[in-house]
């Protein structure tokens, strides 16, 4: 009789139960991730076209990327993905303090990633490798080397904006967790942000060899 009014605060009234609500959120999130794959897909296609047209130029230009900075960033992002996964696991087990530590660790690693990216970008901008009318670097043999840097700045730049977005959302999750908004029964926002964060990691897993490790 009063069944419909007695439900947990986190359960929206248009869902029949918590499980259905969580599954719906997850389906929505995966469809969002699908659009993200296609958003980056356009740039991967751009990369494939110009690399197939100018293989030697890409090889010559990639020597100006710092493999060690790129590899360090790969490690940083993979570890941040691990801490994000562990943050979700901790909340599943009801360990709120531990969740906060893992979320803070994820934000810290994301910031480390952006700081390394800042050093890489500022060095390239200083050399005059920013594409378009700002490109005036002359040390690369081959036709139109600025195209390599167009791809580099567009793809790592879009990825970087995603990392910044992740930092903002995970910081928000940290505050919500500190306020006790999540429990082992309800942690959907952490789980959805986790999916997003893993996709950001996943895209970097492809960007790293495509730009830093051209054979």
């Amino acid at each position: 009789m009063s069944q419909t009014t007695e439900h947990p605060a986190h359960l929206q009234h248009h869902f029949s139960d918590v499980h259905q609500q969580a599954e719906s959120a997850k389906l929505g999130m995966w469809i969002f991730l699908l659009t993200e794959v296609l958003l980056f897909g356009g740039l991967f296609c751009f990369y494939a076209i110009y690399r197939s047209w100018n293989p030697e130029m890409f090889h010559n230009a990639h020597a100006f990327l710092n493999v060690w900075m790129g590899a360090t960033n790969t490690v940083v992002l993979i570890v941040s993905s691990l801490t994000m996964a562990l943050a979700i696991r901790s909340m599943q087990l009801g360990k709120r303090k531990l969740t906060m530590w893992f979320l803070a660790g994820t934000v810290f690693l994301a910031c480390v990633f952006m700081v390394i990216k800042y050093f890489e970008y500022s060095h390239k901008i200083h050399l005059g490798q920013l594409p378009g009318k700002w490109y005036f670097f002359e040390g690369i043999a081959g036709t139109n080397p600025h195209i390599f840097f167009s791809a580099y700045f567009l793809m790592t730049g879009l990825h970087g904006f995603h990392v910044l977005g992740g930092i903002a959302v995970i910081t928000w999750l940290f505050i919500k967790t500190a306020r006790g908004s999540f429990s082992p029964e309800y942690y959907t926002p952490i789980e959805m942000t986790g999916l997003y964060w893993h996709l950001v990691d996943l895209i970097w897993i492809f960007l790293f060899p495509l730009f830093y490790l051209i054979g």
């Binding site: 139960d17 918590v18 499980h19 599954e23 997850k26 389906l27 995966w30 469809i31 991730l33 699908l34 794959v37 296609l38 897909g41 356009g42 991967f44 296609c45 494939a48 076209i49 197939s52 047209w53 010559n60 230009a61 020597a63 493999v67 590899a71 790969t74 490690v75 993979i78 570890v79 993905s81 691990l82 994000m84 996964a85 562990l86 599943q92 087990l93 200083h126 005059g128 490109y135 005036f136 670097f137 002359e138 040390g139 690369i140 043999a141 036709t143 139109n144 600025h146 082992p184 986790g194 893993h198 990691d201 897993i205 492809f206 790293f208 060899p209 495509l210 490790l213 051209i214 054979g215």
Partner: protein
């Protein structure tokens, strides 16, 4: 409630640590392998390792292995569309050379092509100076490279 708990898939800590370690080891391998030259296999090896890493992230960190299969369908669907997008574009762009010369000519007349002097090599780091060495190259030499 027991059904709810079963749906939550609390994976063991060691599994997460093992997957994380595997990802780090594969990162080391992909950097190490890139220092060697396998000719045209270089790209395939690098992409192969990346696909293995991506699969690990998707299956375990993103729980696709344990969740409802519909999420897998959505994700794999996006990858299939991406494959169609890139492969069909490559059919065009890789075979375009034959007609390119004719069609591109009016545009190449307007284009400014940046080229470096033949003597500079990629290994030297000349001081960046803003004096433009943009040379309008002959249409014929440009088009043959496309």
């Amino acid at each position: 409630m027991k059904d709810d708990a079963a749906q939550r898939h609390i994976l063991p800590l060691n599994l997460y640590l093992a997957v994380g370690s595997a990802l780090l080891v594969l990162t080391v391998i992909t950097v190490a392998v890139a220092q060697m030259d396998f000719g045209p296999m270089n790209l395939l090896i690098a992409m192969g390792i990346a696909v293995v890493k991506a699969t690990l992230v998707a299956m375990f960190f993103m729980h696709l292995k344990y969740d409802n299969r519909i999420y897998m369908l959505v994700f794999v669907g996006s990858l299939l569309f991406l494959a169609v997008f890139i492969i069909f574009t490559m059919f065009d762009t890789l075979r375009r050379g034959d007609i390119y010369e004719e069609i591109a000519e009016p545009y190449l007349k307007e284009a400014v092509i940046y080229r470096t002097a033949e003597t500079t090599t990629a290994s030297s780091h000349p001081a960046a100076d803003s004096s433009q060495t943009a040379i309008k190259t002959e249409t014929e030499t440009e088009t043959s490279e496309q």
